[in-house]
Symmetry: D2
Subunit: 314 residues, 4 copies
């Protein structure tokens, strides 16, 4: 093969960050001429092309909407939806998003995202740096389970679709009956197969189990809201049914907060990675509250344990 083709084939991950995928301004965008007068300026403008916002002198449009038409006329949760999805949600769906965002704001200093932000707040960095420090820890293991659980639920739902696209089933009463409802049709058999596949890969089933709470107090209220919305036809209910079926299969292990919020985000149509993004926005609130509280407590360079306790020497 020619050298150019060979380079394409094993392009490599580009260690020094100097190569980029050929592209126009963005997905579906038209590449403008990058030769001719001011080709460099055009290339630079296209390099930073975006559909999220348009900012020009005296103009701020967010997802196509002038910002002055949004201030005072849209809630913060709705705004989050607009910025991520490109359109405004109806009030019932926005309310579900809002409930999920409220549910995940904090879990106290045992959560490393909270603890590190508190410690940062005593080290003479800005409050934004303390918050960023906490958010940086919301990785695959601490916050990533919601994303994984959305994928899990989507697998069950995708496999459950009958010829008419109907996933069937009645979720039952999610508050008193963890696995209630008619599972004869719908996600029943598919859930078992998917669970088996996931457990073969990794002993963790994202969204289920919790080593701190035997029954997470956030589960019932969240799932209750989803069930109501499903009854009213605001959401389809398929992901809820899938989650309840999994919970029944693995009983007595309960669904946890990642699972409950995954149900909400999946029902609302958010792609799996945004389950983590939304958890980030939610948890940032608790991270900020804790960093702020710590900054008023007078400690300097706060470590994880009091100075009277010395780490064990191995």
């Amino acid at each position: 093969m020619s050298e150019r083709e060979a380079a394409r084939a094993v392009g490599g991950p580009d260690p020094d960050g100097t190569a980029r995928a050929v592209g126009g301004p963005g997905v579906g965008g038209t590449a403008r001429a990058t030769s001719g007068p001011d080709a460099g300026g055009t290339a630079a403008a296209d390099w930073w092309a975006t559909a999220v916002s348009r900012i020009e002198p005296d103009v701020i449009e967010l997802r196509g909407q002038p910002v002055q038409d949004l201030i005072g006329r849209i809630g913060f949760a709705e705004m989050i939806w607009l910025m991520l999805r490109g359109e405004r949600p109806d009030p019932r769906r926005a309310a579900l998003l809002e409930a999920a965002l409220v549910s995940s704001v904090d879990h106290g200093p045992h959560a490393p995202s909270i603890a590190v932000a508190r410690m940062a707040a005593t080290c003479g960095v800005g409050l934004n740096n303390a918050v960023a420090t906490g958010v940086n820890l919301l990785g695959d293991v601490h916050g990533g389970a919601g994303e994984q659980c959305v994928r899990l639920l989507e697998e069950v739902v995708a496999g459950s679709r009958g010829p008419g696209g109907d996933t069937g089933g009645d979720p039952g009463d999610v508050r008193t009956d963890p696995g209630g409802g008619d599972a004869g049709s719908g996600p029943g058999g598919e859930a078992a197969a998917v669970v088996a596949r996931w457990r073969a890969r990794d002993r963790y089933l994202p969204g289920f189990g919790h080593r701190f709470h035997s029954r997470d107090p956030r589960r019932d209220p969240l799932l209750g809201l989803v069930a109501e919305a499903a009854e009213d036809g605001v959401v389809a209910g398929a992901h809820l049914r899938a989650a309840l079926e999994i919970e029944r299969l693995i009983a007595p292990v309960p669904m946890n907060i990642d699972g409950a919020t995954a149900v909400v985000y999946a029902e609302l149509g958010f792609p799996a990675p945004l389950a983590r993004g939304l958890f980030v926005l939610s948890r940032s609130v608790g991270i900020l509250a804790h960093a702020w509280e710590e900054s008023g407590q007078g400690r300097r360079n706060k470590g994880p344990i009091p100075p009277s306790i010395l780490p064990t020497w191995i």
Copy 2:
């Protein structure tokens, strides 16, 4: 002096983070015995004392409220207020907070907080790491002006208080008359003195001026909402008057987004540093939206300019 007293006097900033201020569990808290059985465990528990949340098996209380009583019953902006202030706001005040949070979510890729998050999203790190990268840049110069402007406004208001605590004055029409209203009493003279003091220290007057917009489209809607709230007695209006007076004094330089949001946060009683904290929560939304968009555009290791443009060698 004794060695101990000497050490106290020049304690130093504790380079290796092994000394802490003597303290009990927290502001106003009672220090429990740190001797006796399990003194270490008690010390460690007190080390992480907090009033923000109480987390125990099957219990999650946020600022004293069981989380299951909040889910679906409180908005996200109200929740932010509750977590930061320890109590729920009334709906009119919550609406002002919500408007301010909505106003600051994004300003496009020219904003370094947005650009770095987009770049991070192409480097094979998690979405949370991309968001954290952006938030980390919201420092004294990029996001810090709101905090500084709150202090500026508080100085004017504090100096304007007459014997009865009345700051007087009528803000006039904030949309058409930048400095309207009766400035004979109230903040007039005080504003001029404060502005002179601030300008003597630093040529930047936080909250005013903008090199991109001649008139920021976010100013009028935000100030209009504050003016309405002041008319309805929801907020006092003193910080609004102060800001308008400053704007009149330095005309034709307009108030910018930091100034307008500072007016909101100050009227709502948030301490100055939380103006930055709230800007962090707001801007995180745009940072996430941009990082998410970039992650779908196929670039790898995206630098600031296209590879066709080589940095100038000095």
Copy 3:
């Protein structure tokens, strides 16, 4: 199964960070009693058990060595080796590590790790925050290739071992003959098989190809040093032979800096993830140099492109 066994089985990724693996003080450590007097203090001490350093009043031991015996008596690269590996390297091996660390310090503002740090330096955050911002981008795609390439080379070497553990082969002249040497025995056949397996999984072969340099000026000097060390018996040379064989198989695609440093780190026995860790230490130098330079250039809130160029609206 019992509830406890069920909880173990699907323990989940522990969304709120309150569960931990049962463990004693650390690998190979002995769990001390966590009941009895001051069980909490002991538990907290064990929670932070480490073999890296022992710090007590007036005592600092790093990997068992008193710090006062190291200052002025050990080089920085040797110190890095000691801290990561637990023992001091011989001078020849230390020299190889030093060469690799020197090679990767910088690749200019096109590298996102460099650009974001420069931008951070204009936002009013500390120099440490600017450096952290850059380091945060050294993820799987920008810096992760070295780690992946070490794994690739280890696969070839492991498969090449004959009954006597001999990987055979003579690397030839690495500077003029990219794939020279006797490949009849040794890694030849194994390399082809491994390359085929890796290409089936992902089109990127880590460590090879570069969209910016047709021949990376860092490759020859690094590989030359490894070849000399192999001739002198300082390193085995097996990973070098494997890399050269791969390069010959995929010619004309050259080995890049990730590949060359991977050869060094693998020959020196560093586990694959530390290839990324060492790249972090190296690139931190360039990140700091650039952040420092930018901080002296007077810009505020520097975005990725000059304000005269507006991002394209999609």
Copy 4:
């Protein structure tokens, strides 16, 4: 004043990061034409102008030196000097830098920079993210004292200069006599005045005192190396004398690691902010070592204290 002048006067901190200082390619650089053909490309190239490195296809020059001439021919500490200062140091001065870098690599899990990195390593983020998390905490209070101490020493030295620039004095024996030597001339009177000014501003005197060590084991070896270098005329010794004089004035409070390294960096001519930058490079080693160790210990979502200890509820 005109609107433009008014805008200049109160330009503000540029909330949205869209204005920049007018500038050419960099300090002392010549602004190239930003009109005419490809003005945008030229502007973008100048926007990222740098003297640190020049990177073009098949060319990598670091501070003007081809990288292939550096690999294997320069030590890592020397490389750090070259990248930061733009020229290579002589071996004696490089050795001092190396000693200071070695001295600060770690101080165990009590140091928040170490603890947060260990916690991050259990949260499913990359090793680079764990290191970045730790580095992000090296702020004004945890790592910033070295920078402050350099400024303190520079103030004493600047005030001590007699007409001939001679700061006089003989440091004495730094190991056994903390404040020995002839302080009659030299920094004596100036030190007292400077100390008084600093203590009036802030109770902390950066570089002195330590709440963990009564005598930091790193002080004597570092200062001993500087004293030898001063005797041999490798460094002037003025900052060492100043530090010893301060230590004598505030006895029995000892110099700590920030003070000792500040002496080294100041003697070597590093600007104060780079004292923090160099501490960042040094401490990154310990941060990496700890993050790496933790990643092998099997914990997930490690919080600051074991789950058996619940934070105190205030």
